[in-house]
Symmetry: C2
Subunit: 315 residues, 2 copies
């Protein structure tokens, strides 16, 4: 208890080690984590949250780095959350993104954290949002969340962002695949990265023609821009589009809508977890183990097993 | 009630329309769905469940079709569940996979269903497993579940399979990306599809060398095979590996383990849904709406809001 208080004090004094420590506690979903987040919420709501997503190998990490450098030149502080599919061999996030960090790690204004996708408690999108809240409360002006965008939980993450950037590369059928993966639905801005590659203009046209098919029932016209992140080309144009989208959200009062949606999600996620904790007592888990055999033999069905588990619950 | 009974009767008479109808009910998670699944469970546990996954564009659909044809030649009946990221434009699963079906749709022994990933009730992996249970109870010998394998919920799906096939294509860094996406962890068999492309042998070697890094603490040696699905090359070799894996599971009593794990998951999923239903009464939802403003203003935190919601629950 006192440890937590001391830690929070350090955090609000902008101690970078306290920040890292708190993020680790949130990632591991320790019991104190609720108390900590609770203390932080009043300070959230100031950071711009940018979600960056796209297929594997689209160059998202490099693009995020270039954007971070760009924002730093404008004297904005930056937090980066790289949602990193866990390697089965190391048990942790992969080295690739850790190596990348070196480039920015000398800069006190940038904080980068890789998050593993597997083997941890709580939903991935929930944990990511909580880490974003921590970075927000710490005072970061920009929080970037980078994910591989072909999966439900990954899409959930970027949907909590204020601005979502979808990164594609010039490859045959890539834009069609992106459409299939539901990426067209969530993009506020499109990027064709590695645009020195053959077919870049065709990919750009493809995306634009798909976008014209989409009902444009809102005033924001989704831009498509070309970058070569590895050579830092197109980054400022992209940053300009992000800025325009920020203005758009502001003018249409959409920051409020997005923030309320996020807060509601935090509550419903907490409710779901608390319900599980209340339900799965030692006795209930034992009961479940004992029913295993009957389930397998078909003596009773999963539905009947569920009813048995609920027999003395809420009565 | 009587409708459900009549429907089930038709189903057990192997009426294909009753099968389609029941799958739709399960997909939409209608209330009768529990009763239906309950009636089916005693008949499940006979089908071999194959999960097929890989990055977008790896040619999974074509490969699944070729495998289906192969199994049909052995006089086995086949069910295919294609988990299909929803298009934002049609609101349903994409046409691409529907078109594909034509090739097999004349065959009474094959049943194909595309499942949308978004906008539906219940977890995706839960619904997919339930549809697999329906196909299993119907008497299908083989149930193939095809997903884009770069996302937590998609990985959850294939983990409920008996045999998991991971499909890659010869492209620079693809195997590394697969490792990043956690695919190496779940593969029982690897396929390098489109193996007439340049770099196929290198990709094969890459996978093999990554596999040697992996602790091989079980007796199953993960095979890597080459296919050109579009020309039906390598399909029977792949089918041979699947058969060998089936024998391996059988000899080591692993079908039992996998089936028990699936049944337990069905129960815990049902519990989670029932808890949500019990909790989110009309009053609680109203309470949540009323707290929105206070949450936004920071008058109280999400944690405090959660506690308020639980105030009269279980006391």
């Amino acid at each position: 208890m006192n440890d937590t208080k001391a830690l929070l004090e350090q955090f609000f004094k902008k101690d970078k080690r306290a920040l890292a420590r708190i993020i680790t506690l949130v990632e591991n979903q320790v019991p104190a984590c609720c108390e900590i987040l609770d203390a932080l919420y009043p300070n959230t709501g100031h950071a711009l949250r940018i979600g960056i997503t796209g297929p594997p190998g689209a160059g998202k990490s490099t693009l995020v780095d270039q954007l971070a450098k760009h924002f730093r030149q404008q004297n904005k502080t930056v937090g980066i959350i790289a949602v990193d599919p866990t390697s089965p061999f190391t048990g942790g996030a992969l080295l690739g993104d850790r190596v990348r960090m070196c480039d920015l790690s000398g800069d006190e204004g940038v904080f980068i954290r890789s998050m593993a996708t597997r083997g941890s408690l709580g939903g991935l999108s929930q944990r990511t949002q909580q880490v974003a809240d921590v970075l927000d409360a710490y005072g970061k002006d920009i929080v970037m969340m980078e994910t591989v965008g072909v999966g439900q939980s990954e899409l959930d993450i970027v949907e909590t962002a204020d601005t979502t950037v979808v990164v594609l590369v010039p490859e045959s059928g890539d834009s069609i695949q992106a459409m299939k993966a539901g990426l067209m639905e969530i993009a506020d801005i499109f990027v064709v990265n590695k645009s020195d590659r053959e077919g870049a203009d065709r990919t750009l046209l493809e995306i634009q023609s798909i976008l014209t098919l989409k009902e444009q029932n809102q005033e924001w016209k989704i831009p498509v821009c070309k970058t070569i992140a590895s050579e830092n080309q197109g980054t400022s144009e992209l940053a300009g589009h992000i800025e325009m989208h920020t203005r758009f959200l502001d003018e249409h009062n959409l920051f409020v809508t997005k923030r309320i949606r996020r807060l509601r999600k935090v509550v419903t996620d907490m409710v779901a977890i608390k319900l599980q904790q209340l339900f799965w007592t030692h006795d209930k888990r034992k009961m479940m183990d004992q029913m295993e055999d009957a389930l397998f033999k078909g003596t009773f069905s999963p539905y009947q097993a569920t009813q048995r588990l609920f027999a003395d619950f809420l009565t």
